[in-house]
Symmetry: C2
Subunit: 96 residues, 2 copies
């Protein structure tokens, strides 16, 4: 699945509700899911981890929809290596 396809799917599915809720409340949901990801990391069960990763990314994409950010464009800087030294593996010690 293309990153853009994912973002479009989430727009079709949830945008109306996300827009009604607004940016800050949507950001709050994102952080709630990051907390659930922390719990899943602690428990270490694979299916739960996979689920929580998916929810974090789904909320991130929803927030991107609300703020007019195209995630496909955003991720281009990581497509070919480190955005700073342009190498892969990174050779510059850049911490994103």
């Amino acid at each position: 699945m293309e990153i853009s396809e994912l973002q479009s799917a989430l727009r079709r599915t949830y945008y109306k509700r996300d827009a009604k809720r607004g940016r800050d409340a949507t950001f709050r949901w994102l952080t709630e899911e990051v907390g659930e990801l922390a719990k899943a990391l602690r428990r270490g069960e694979h299916d739960e981890l996979e689920l929580e990763f998916s929810d974090v990314l789904a909320w991130l994409a929803s927030l991107a929809n609300l703020t007019g950010v195209d995630l496909e464009d955003a991720m281009a800087r990581y497509a070919d290596g480190c955005p700073k030294c342009e190498r892969s593996p990174c050779g510059c010690g850049f911490v994103r």
Copy 2:
């Protein structure tokens, strides 16, 4: 860019360093970037927002690499609508 291509790119670029740092420290970096995303939301400048979205997703993918989660597989549940009611737009009030 396919979600899997992004995850692979981040693996090639950062996995060795991510593995040395470990899961918890990588999770800490993810949360640091979520905080920077919050700042960018507050300031509202588009280029900064786009950058912070990209860093959050890059760290999320790095953490997925460390924990053996395939983000492409994980996101399949959102590909065709709401994971719960399977409709798009969602009709069940499901909040991820």
